[in-house]
């Protein structure tokens, strides 16, 4: 039943029930506790060093919009000494990304942060619109995911940043844990809960909202009146993820701690995973220089498939080798510009 006063300050009227604790708290205490928890996540994981250049992966959606706002607030409040940038990837999806990029451009002004937009078109020579009109709507998210990952790294390297932060929240991470369980992908299970990932040469990526509930992120945006974009991609998210999400929301409705419990379950696999990670050696893609666990990186493999009009056949390595034996790739084929690793952190020009 509603209590009359806030569980934290015992004076103001509560406006929110925290999913994590069940506490009923007022607006000011909510802002404070939400921001402080993100600050604690950042300091406990030692995410940043003074002087770091940090790119916020910005889509214009709720999570990255709130992340940009909170990063700016905390950087000023606690004197992190970070240089913050917005980094957006333009997948080339008419009626979706073009509108959401307008939101990011407004955020650039509202938050006074430099913005870099990198498009699939300039990097790969293909927009998602053209990819979907070529391969249909079945594997589009596989292409998009692989392309986005590499685009973010390349955008970050162009900005010469040390670090990329993304808006993944506790619900997203719990959902990914569930998906990996459903797919039987134990190797990914531990890795997906890591707050910070860094391969041999990759730019550090982290998730300051790892423990932030989606409900609180949306409430924060609502009460702060933040400007975000909320339309689903027109190339429909993959149905499997949709089911995992709905299932998770049902669990959460029954028991709000389910989200954190699932993340903890994923974390329990983390230790074993470290042993495994060293088994597959990282190398660089022979064609574009991006890190890869095979001769060709995933993006080059997918791009080659698009260029050769055989997208479905090239998704597996074996299929590609068979293809190469039959007909080697043409010289005129579009490839990805060579990737030069950003300077090591701490080395200045």
């Amino acid at each position: 039943m509603p209590s009359k006063t806030c569980a934290l300050c015992h004076s103001a009227r509560p406006i929110l029930k925290r999913p994590k604790t069940g506490q009923q708290i007022c607006k000011d205490c909510f802002f404070k506790v939400f921001e402080t928890e993100v600050h604690n996540t950042i300091t406990e994981a030692n995410l940043f060093r003074t002087g770091d250049r940090v790119a916020i992966g910005a889509s214009g959606g709720k999570d990255s919009t709130v992340l940009a706002y909170v990063m700016k607030t905390l950087n000023e409040r606690y004197g992190y000494g970070l240089e913050l940038f917005l980094l957006s990837i333009d997948e080339g999806i008419t009626g979706y990304r073009d509108d959401s990029l307008e939101t990011v451009k407004r955020n650039q002004e509202q938050y006074d942060m430099p913005l870099k937009i990198l498009s699939y078109d300039e990097l790969y020579g293909w927009t998602m619109d053209r990819i979907v009109s070529t391969i249909g709507r079945k594997n589009n998210c596989t292409f998009c995911g692989v392309f986005r990952r590499q685009a973010l790294d390349r955008g970050a390297s162009a900005l010469n940043v040390d670090h990329i932060v993304t808006g993944h929240n506790a619900d997203d991470i719990a959902e990914t844990v569930l998906m990996n369980i459903m797919r039987g992908d134990i190797a990914r299970l531990g890795r997906c809960t890591a707050i910070c990932t860094q391969g041999e040469d990759t730019i550090r990526r982290s998730k300051p909202f790892k423990y932030a509930y989606e409900k609180e992120i949306v409430m924060y945006a609502y009460f702060k009146k933040l400007d975000y974009f909320s339309t689903e991609c027109i190339y429909s998210p993959d149905a499997y993820r949709g089911h995992a999400r709905a299932f998770l929301k049902d669990l959460e409705a029954a028991r709000p701690s389910a989200i954190i419990d699932i993340i903890h379950s994923g974390e329990a696999f983390e230790v074993k995973q470290e042993v495994k990670a060293t088994q597959k050696l990282q190398q660089t893609c022979k064609r574009c220089g991006y890190m890869s666990s095979n001769e060709l990186c995933k993006a080059c493999t997918l791009l080659e498939g698009l260029e050769r009009g055989l997208s479905h056949a090239v998704i597996t390595d074996r299929a590609r080798q068979k293809l190469d034996a039959e007909e080697p790739p043409s010289q005129a084929m579009r490839t990805i510009p060579y990737f030069n690793l950003p300077r090591a952190p701490g080395v200045t020009s």
């Binding site: 509603p2 009227r13 509560p14 406006i15 929110l16 029930k17 009923q24 889509s59 959606g61 709720k62 999570d63 990255s64 808006g167 993944h168 929240n169 619900d171 997203d172 989606e214 409900k215 992120i217 949306v218 409430m219 609502y222 009460f223 909320s230 339309t231 689903e232 991609c233 998210p237 999400r245 709905a246 929301k249 049902d250 959460e252 409705a253």
Partner: protein, 112 residues
């Protein structure tokens, strides 16, 4: 039904839900009284948020009802605010609506 039985409310949709409601965020709603249950005809059934949710589905929703309503209430993942307070503090669907109330529905399910 007399005019006094109508509740005037402000209803808002956000987080992508507005796309299901004529692509309009803000709506003025004149909510009629719920039909009273026959055995108790004398006793009035109060207009609560559950009743509003069904009324919105039948009268204002333009497409894909399954994205708004599930098992008689809003779909999990939709946040509801009553006069800028989390409905979880107000009895959720059983909150009895008052003249002039502002009800906000926000979907959390759309990309970050």
């Amino acid at each position: 039904m007399t005019d006094s039985q109508v509740l005037n409310l402000k209803v808002e949709f956000g987080g992508g839900l507005e796309l299901l409601f004529d692509k309009k965020r803000s709506h003025r709603v004149a909510l009629p009284s719920p039909p009273s249950s026959p055995p108790d005809a004398a006793k009035k059934t109060p207009a609560d948020i559950n009743f509003l949710i069904h009324w919105l589905k039948d009268n204002l929703l333009r497409e894909r009802a399954e994205l708004f309503i599930e098992n008689g209430t809003v779909r999990p993942g939709i946040l509801v605010l009553v006069n800028d307070t989390d409905w979880e503090l107000e009895g959720e669907g059983e909150y009895v609506l008052q003249e002039g109330d502002e009800i906000v529905f926000i979907s959390t399910l759309h990309g970050g």
